[in-house]
Symmetry: C3
């Protein structure tokens, strides 16, 4: 009996170690997010999504800052593509010795590069909205994919104070007493009350101008030229729009700062009782986060059926669902509630979603005789199937 137990145990251990996943579960509900930090000023939650295309799971993090709070400086060890779900604030980052400040607001998309040290400060708004960022951490390219010594980010205090006293003393040219005192202080929480007064962009540009005038040199002009701006999804014309809803995608083609990643961002809004028609993505895997409402998701696993434990499921605000490429899917809102979700796609370029029904569908492109054989249907049924001539993106 013991040996049976031992066999089973070791089998389980082996399976866990050797297979990053034993099947694909498309749904991660809100309560399966892992808390990283939670204070009265905000919280950070994390979810690992195994997308099947990388050895390492993708890391999705949710940053929530109360108004006038500060996320302390982090050194990011992967590229961080983020979307501002609510609120507004300012993100500041140091890259190659330069600091950049950028105002952010609801609907903004941006990408911070691996190796940046960044911090975020939330604004106080009339409505008291929290600043919420949904962020995907991703390796930049194939050269970075399998780096198991590298994490997502590190606190600045761990980076600076992790050295031996002797090294710190020699580096900063300070006394041993001060080093000891610095090291004895309590490590700060990740999110604290804001310490900087809220500056407008004009302010900081002005200050920058003064500073650089004092320092001298034409670097101000150069820096102004490459002033960073986020991409706002609410200011772009949707890819598809009708009274039932709209969809929009942001790729590296639309937004140069995404270049060098293979990540895109998308947003879908459905009014009550609507649906995104059945379709598949030939190039992109989608990781979606429900930002509002509830609905149903239907997924088909045509070629690897055993790996689909769940093909039809309900989603609600805060849930995450993942659909690998080539997996046909459809999303629906309920008749009494609208549904919005945004998400990240891996492999942003040249994805042509292929719809199954309607004017542009693959069935309507094929010869009806072939469709009849493929589905084993009489011609009359095929004619009915293909008679739907409207575009079917959202209905």
């Amino acid at each position: 009996m013991h040996s049976t137990f031992s066999l089973l145990s070791s089998l389980v251990v082996c399976l866990l170690l050797a297979l990053p996943t034993d099947g694909y579960d498309p749904l991660i509900t809100r309560d399966n997010r892992k808390p990283i930090v939670s204070t009265e000023f905000g919280r950070v939650e994390s979810v690992e999504v195994y997308d099947g295309s990388e050895k390492e799971p993708l890391n999705l993090q949710f940053f929530t800052l109360e108004p006038s709070s500060l996320l302390l400086p982090l050194l990011v060890e992967a590229d961080m593509v983020f979307f501002v779900q609510t609120g507004s604030g300012r993100v500041s980052w140091v890259e190659k010795g330069d600091i950049t400040h950028m105002d952010i607001a609801r609907g903004d998309v941006y990408r911070l590069r691996s190796g940046s040290v960044f911090y975020v400060q939330s604004k106080t708004t009339a409505t008291g909205e929290k600043l919420r960022l949904n962020a995907l951490f991703t390796r930049r390219d194939y050269e970075d994919t399998l780096d198991e010594f590298i994490g997502t980010y590190a606190n600045l205090s761990d980076v600076v104070l992790g050295f031996d006293n002797k090294v710190l003393q020699a580096s900063f040219k300070i006394s041993e007493e001060l080093i000891k005192e610095i090291k004895s202080r309590k490590k700060p929480q990740m999110i604290v009350p804001a310490v900087l007064k809220e500056k407008t962009e004009e302010d900081s540009n002005w200050k920058l101008g003064i500073l650089e005038a004092l320092v001298g040199g034409g670097s101000h002009e150069e820096r102004s030229n490459k002033k960073r701006k986020p991409f706002n999804v609410y200011k772009k014309e949707p890819d598809f729009k009708n009274p039932n809803g709209w969809t929009l995608t942001v790729t590296r083609k639309d937004f140069p700062p995404l270049k060098g990643t293979n990540v895109g961002v998308f947003m879908v809004n459905l009014t009550k009782g609507s649906m995104v028609g059945p379709h598949w993505n030939p190039r992109a895997t989608e990781i979606a986060i429900v930002t509002h409402g509830q609905g149903m998701v239907n997924i088909v696993c045509p070629s690897k059926k055993s790996q689909c434990p769940r093909t039809s499921f309900k989603v609600k605000e805060g849930d995450i669902f993942m659909v690998p490429k080539f997996h046909p899917m459809s999303q629906m809102s309920f008749s009494n509630e609208s549904l919005s979700f945004m998400g990240f796609t891996t492999m942003a370029k040249k994805n042509h979603p292929q719809f199954i029904a309607g004017k542009l569908s693959v069935l309507n492109t094929l010869d009806p005789d072939i469709v009849a054989e493929a589905l084993n249907l009489p011609k009359s049924s095929v004619q009915e199937l293909l008679s739907c001539e409207v575009r079917a993106e959202i209905r």
Copy 2:
């Protein structure tokens, strides 16, 4: 005793899980092909070849269609490079909403892109030849290599009818009864009798012209410009040819449709009692399929000897053999039978096969004194070895 068994079992399990292969076997005989489907109209067989360079094995499939048969539409989830071994027919595919028809005949090479929906119809020929395609399924590039949720292809009926009734009903705007009836029908076999009358290419172009004239627009011209044609290996000058045989390779440089894959195609023909001289490929791994006759293959595993269970073996029609790059090899026909094989190479570009004997050999490039030391031979033997001044590709 039980516990010993359990230890051994779990060890075996671990080994199977953790190592994709426990050694390299260069030979897969014809009877080790795995049947996928077999009807009176044709059959499909599959072989997985682990080439050592990808986590996932390469998938090789053999499609055989009786005259006037139809391979029903498949959604390919990987790039499919194919070679027409015998017969003729037509392949049709839908990519990004357009359908393309292309006639194919013996010796043709083509590549269908992942995400295409394709079907194949065989022609009736005077000789009653079957249409036989040898196909390699391959991930397009590094971004696609490790996708374990993705298979090779899916049947169109699984893709379309995998959705919930409610979703299908809303999508196709048809009655619940019709949905139920459609779903209740027996799933068709993968290969069925042909349903389309055999059209010549002119016919279909003509029809396309009419259609587009009705629809309006200049898209016909655009489409004609990018008319797809396969590459025929029998119409190209061989890379090397003498009375003992010939060899030919097709790379993405020769044939633009191969661009974006790292797959090339090659063909070797040996008359009776001939051989391809000892050589290695510094860049390409070869996966060969014997298309005619019998012969002997000799492989050397110089740097990882333990991984070579088989270094000299007989091959016959239908057998598959795989030679990783840097592994010296030689193929011979028997004195009473010719030998032909075609195959796929991974990493198609810039491969310079390096021959060991003859005028262009690496030995003849080195200083004879160095060769003498390297092989620990007296100078006289080296002189004899290097005296063979003819080119040694085939002899």
Copy 3:
């Protein structure tokens, strides 16, 4: 009890199989090098370094040739980037049918391409110095990363004589007796006494000219144009230099022959009692070999603390230490001895080392209020920390 043993054993087996490493150890001491060959004419030692970014560990080899010795021809199956630590000699290689000879001396860096057959001959110098090469074997690019059938290099005799007698006989057109005699000879050691008289470069060019004049054709000129030269680290201006030491890096930007690899080479020299200030590399992982002296290395693992078994350790001549990107580090010489190390970086391009203290530090770029919060310090301490305004690369 047995079953517990079995469980534990299989667990260990699983762990060993499934995880290429169970933690990151930055130090490999000299006595952990694995000897490959050792004769009176020289020796070869090997070390495998798991850098976390590839499935397969990186292979580092140390070639030591006594004066006037010969490393027999090897077929390299990976790119080989080497650094000449001491001595001088000549490396010769055959690539695509051409032979190239190149003189090498202390401080030279070069890269041989996978697929080359090369050999090395050491010179007799006045000081009797040995020729010592430190070499990193690396897959060229993503297409080559996971090739488990391929090793590092193979001896020419194994490559040539691994074939069956019949194949060799047919290829070289020699008698069966000679084949048998050749195969019966004792396999030579990897390093033997030099057999070629030491030629100057002028000699060989002259000989080459004669040869090509006889053969005819303008290929001599063409070959002269692309005459290969190594990069010498002692002839380049250091990236940073002050009385305490200097640092230098060689990337593919500096030295075109490194193109196509993601490997760079660096060198650091510290005088007595000096240090390389705390910094991290955002793009490059460093593998360093101590070439002279002794010192201390201090590493911080900020984001994955559990994976740092060793953060402060002594290094001495011949030791190897590896620092993954994003890991802050500092190296110090002792007060009574200088310290030199050279090494290889993976991901050579666009690495901007980020220093923690001094004028260009990330702390000085941030707002002092933010630094105070991040380190949980009073403003006065922050001012002291940031007051050090000198550049801190080496101090």
